[in-house]
């Protein structure tokens, strides 16, 4: 008999967040690409230009949210993919921990970078 699972592992929240971040990412990612490849060509990017953009609070916040959403979406996606392939037991816990730490580090480092760009450090 397959085990009767406890009802206390909804999993639905992560699923829903994955969709919500996705919806958010579509917009921001498109904007981001457009901004840095078409409006400003990537090869023309300079610290000055970056700083100018970052100092706009709206842009700064968008980018930070972009980062958080992307990090969650990506890391959660990877985690799901592994669980789908049957990751279970201790390895699963370890992977989860590693991914959470990696994701967290990414976000922290990213915010730090953004602050540096804006010159607010």
């Amino acid at each position: 008999m397959a085990e009767r699972y406890s009802s206390f592992a909804p999993g639905g929240t992560a699923w829903l967040l994955q969709r919500i971040t996705a919806a958010f990412l579509v917009v921001v990612l498109a904007f981001h690409f457009f901004q840095l490849h078409f409006v400003n060509h990537a090869y023309e990017v300079t610290f000055l230009g970056t700083q100018a953009r970052m100092q706009n609070v709206g842009y700064f916040l968008t980018m930070v949210l972009f980062l958080i959403a992307g990090a969650f979406h990506g890391v959660n996606g990877v985690y799901n993919a592994l669980v789908n392939q049957g990751l279970d037991g201790t390895p699963k816990k370890v992977v989860l921990a590693v991914l959470v730490i990696a994701g967290g580090a990414l976000i922290v480092q990213g915010i730090y970078v953004a602050l540096a760009m804006a010159g607010w450090t």
Partner: protein, 292 residues
């Protein structure tokens, strides 16, 4: 007039195709009548030419030396109009190799025993016309299940998953049967669960789902569909519906589905499995949002 004068037609495939023309009372009679019908002529022609279908069947038996190493056996089966994949393997078994093993029973797509992997797709043997397939027709047991022997796979995991969703009416609070009172259900609600109720437990969907293959705990499309049938049935009370959603929304429930659509693609009963799974995900999310 009785049937008694009729000679029993030989079941065996004639070795020499011309023999059949000489033997069969039908051909004799057809010739006598000189019926000009063209299609009859050409059909007879096809028969005379001894058209055969080439099938390659997966063989494995843990006990028999020579079959312990899985292999494919080739059979050439005389073709007949309307022949299904199941007919072909049955013919091969009865005429060439009686140890060829597979499950089958109803021959009409209701018992769900004969889901095989035919030319790379999960199909019901009895529901697949062999003339629709490219030759040689490769017939294998369902992927992602352990092979017991030849085309027979171990279905116990599938059954476990089916049972895990508590697939039975739970309401005890029904009208008294002695009053011959039924629980009312609107035709619309019955229509809503109609497709989901057609599942014949063939396991084709489970076998086609890559996620179910990787994650043994994943309930899988068939079991989720079974749960859908109950969760959507208005005859059960709200509490029970919630209980059902709670089973479905655990980690290895509906969330594991990655909308691969393979299940929907192969289901011989045309059940819109992916759609049902998605609807349950939304239901579960809605229920959780209510809590917040």
């Amino acid at each position: 007039m009785s049937t008694q004068q009729q000679e029993p037609e030989t079941q065996e495939a004639p070795k020499d195709p011309d023999m059949k023309g000489a033997q069969s009372p039908q051909d004799r009679r057809l010739a006598e009548k000189e019926s000009g019908a063209i299609d009859e002529e050409s059909e007879k022609q096809a028969e005379l030419e001894g058209e055969t279908v080439h099938i390659k069947v997966f063989r494995y038996d843990p006990e028999v030396e020579g079959k312990q190493e899985p292999r494919f056996d080739d059979f050439h089966v005389p073709f007949e109009k309307g022949m299904t994949v199941l007919d072909a393997v049955m013919y091969a078994r009865d005429e060439y190799d009686s140890s060829l093993t597979f499950r089958h029973s109803c021959r009409q797509a209701v018992c769900g025993s004969d889901a095989f992997f035919v030319n790379g797709k999960q199909r019901l043997g009895c529901k697949t016309q062999i003339s629709d397939l490219e030759q040689p027709v490769r017939i294998e047991p369902l992927p992602h299940q352990e092979v017991v022997k030849d085309l027979v796979v171990d279905m116990s995991h599938f059954y476990d998953q089916m049972h895990a969703v508590e697939p039975y009416f739970q309401d005890e609070d029904t009208p008294d049967v002695n009053d011959l009172e039924e629980q009312r259900q609107s035709p619309e609600n019955r229509e809503k669960i109609k497709m989901s109720s057609r599942c014949i437990w063939c396991g084709a969907c489970m076998s086609s789902c890559n996620i179910a293959a990787g994650d043994n705990k994943y309930l899988g499309p068939a079991a989720i569909n079974k749960a859908y049938k109950f969760a959507m049935d208005d005859r059960e009370s709200e509490e029970i519906k919630e209980h059902r959603l709670r089973i479905l929304e655990q980690e290895h429930g509906v969330w594991r589905c990655q909308t691969q659509f393979s299940c929907t693609e192969v289901c011989p009963k045309d059940i819109p499995l992916t759609e049902h799974i998605q609807e349950l995900k939304r239901e579960a999310v809605k229920k959780n949002l209510k809590f917040w």
